[in-house]
Symmetry: C2
Subunit: 334 residues, 2 copies
């Protein structure tokens, strides 16, 4: 699957090249602000709205970059991926747009919208039990049967380079606005998005701390950063943030992240749901729980932002109506 | 209030000048698309996301332009407005940013989010009974007491010029994308937004039909266009689209609209709510009922769009959680 070359971190030029591959294919998502949110937090908060990206999350950037860089003969029979849902949709979409088939292993408990939309992009979905089956072994078996490559969700230099274009856009949008953020906060599962963003910002906006934010129940990156080595959480990770359920950082992503990231931040499920509600009222954006943890870090005070300028990446918006309704039923809106 | 000069339609240059006034103050809202939505409708649909505008609707553009163009001595004591909620917030925000007080007459049944946020901008709110009191007379009395001007919600050339900047942006965004829409559909209450948009597009993107869309219960503009004169609906207008409850077109707006608009379209409340749900899932946008009627016209087939390229203005996103939850509870999502 990953040749040794794939485990070299992508450099800045590789991200710039990914931006070229994505030009006219992916959306340049807006950097949004809200007077109500700024007043609420006494801060200047900018939201990088990746929920408005194609397929509803940043994952399309990495999937497209990865598949585009596969040699044509390697991808001619199609691609395989494993994913809780956002990478699934992204690979399915990128495969269809490349006119090749996709087979995706998805956990049985993935949100309905993620599964339906992955199938809507023409992908064959193979369900698995998150607690009983090993998703990577399953993907390897599917790839071997079909003679086609796996598109890794985060631990691959091309996937990371694609996600890094989020960082390039943040830097150029901040420049256009004449602002230099005091911090950037990014939702973190396997660590691919933040590895790409931090790599891009290290060159394009140097000196700005980039914090990973995780659900409290899945704080593997925070702990790993503190320990200086990859920690594996024991027991299943349970959180409403279905897109951030990694139990250990990626090998390549952690190699990048341990050198570049500011300390990790965690938020509770209730804080993530409350942030979805604030995004609904203040920003008019639909965020999924995992996409809202960066904003939740600011609202909860876990990342102090009073009097500061902060960018929060809102990484996705694929959420079932039922969970969204739950987030809205909190009593103290407005 | 309105001097005779105010009843001259704004010309294209006046809209370009409004864009200059709004530069760096209002957001340039994105023109968004969704693969899922396009597949659903077999069309190329572009959404002008004014729900992402400051104060959550396009109204900020008109309010800011209007207040900015008031002679400084006229506005020194503040401004007065009447509004069901979006113009209220917009005037309150524009007044606060100009450092002058605002007094706003709002109907008792305005959505809670609209009233709370108007007060959040520091405005004094005077409630009235939509069915028992005349809002214009009330505003005149408030203005006289305070010795300050009224900022009209639509029937004023500066308000219309501000709203017209939505049209300028649509034209320049379409040009950048290399597309020429077959039609543009715009939510219509008093008609200020569409009068501005149509005026801008007549010069910036000539020949493209611009359709007003209204709730079926408040179809005064559709009927007036058909009759060639301003029709006044009899009886109170009842619809979930609280921002589109006009019972007759504005005098100046209709003078513009009767010369420039394509036929009117109406949608039911159920169609507006269903469009909110599609915007939630496909676009990750929060739309209010009145902001969703343009999209509803496409989804319902009232404006046929199969095989065509269409721009729908999503004019606002100020909706209470309860109504949004109702829109999400429809059975056939995804």
């Amino acid at each position: 699957m990953n040749s040794p070359a794939d485990l070299r971190p992508p450099d800045f030029d590789s991200i710039v090249d990914a931006a070229r591959l994505l030009h006219g294919v992916a959306a340049v998502t807006p950097l949004l602000r809200s007077d109500a949110l700024d007043a609420r937090l006494d801060a200047a908060v900018w939201i990088k709205a990746e929920c408005l990206q194609r397929t509803g999350s940043f994952k399309f950037r990495g999937a497209w970059t990865n598949i585009s860089r596969l040699p044509a003969e390697d991808r001619s029979c199609g691609v395989v991926a494993y994913s809780s849902g956002n990478h699934a949709q992204a690979v399915a979409a990128a495969a269809m747009l490349h006119d090749i088939p996709a087979t995706i292993a998805m956990p049985q408990d993935a949100p309905a919208i993620k599964r339906t939309r992955t199938e809507g992009w023409g992908a064959a979905v193979r369900s698995f039990d998150r607690n009983a089956e090993d998703r990577i072994e399953l993907a390897r078996a599917l790839a071997e049967e079909r003679g086609c490559p796996i598109v890794p969700p985060y631990d691959h230099r091309d996937t990371i380079a694609g996600q890094g274009t989020v960082g390039l856009e943040i830097a150029s949008q901040c420049r256009a606005l004449g602002i230099v953020p005091d911090a950037v906060v990014v939702p973190c599962g396997g660590g691919g998005l933040i590895a790409g963003v931090a790599t891009a910002l290290k060159t394009a906006m140097p000196g700005v701390p980039v914090h990973p934010c995780e659900p409290a129940a899945g704080d593997d990156t925070k702990r790993s950063l503190e320990a200086g080595r990859r920690i594996v959480l024991t027991g299943p990770v349970r959180s409403v943030c279905d897109s951030l359920l990694a139990d250990t950082p990626g090998e390549l992503t952690f190699e990048i992240n341990r050198r570049t990231l500011a300390p990790g931040i965690v938020v509770t499920d209730a804080e993530a749901l409350y942030a979805m509600r604030i995004a609904f009222g203040d920003l008019k954006l639909v965020l999924e729980p995992g996409g809202a943890v960066g904003l939740a870090a600011l609202i909860s005070g876990e990342l102090p932002c009073r009097g500061r300028t902060v960018v929060a990446v809102a990484s996705g918006g694929n959420v079932d109506a039922e969970i969204f309704g739950r987030a809205l039923r909190d009593p103290d809106m407005h």
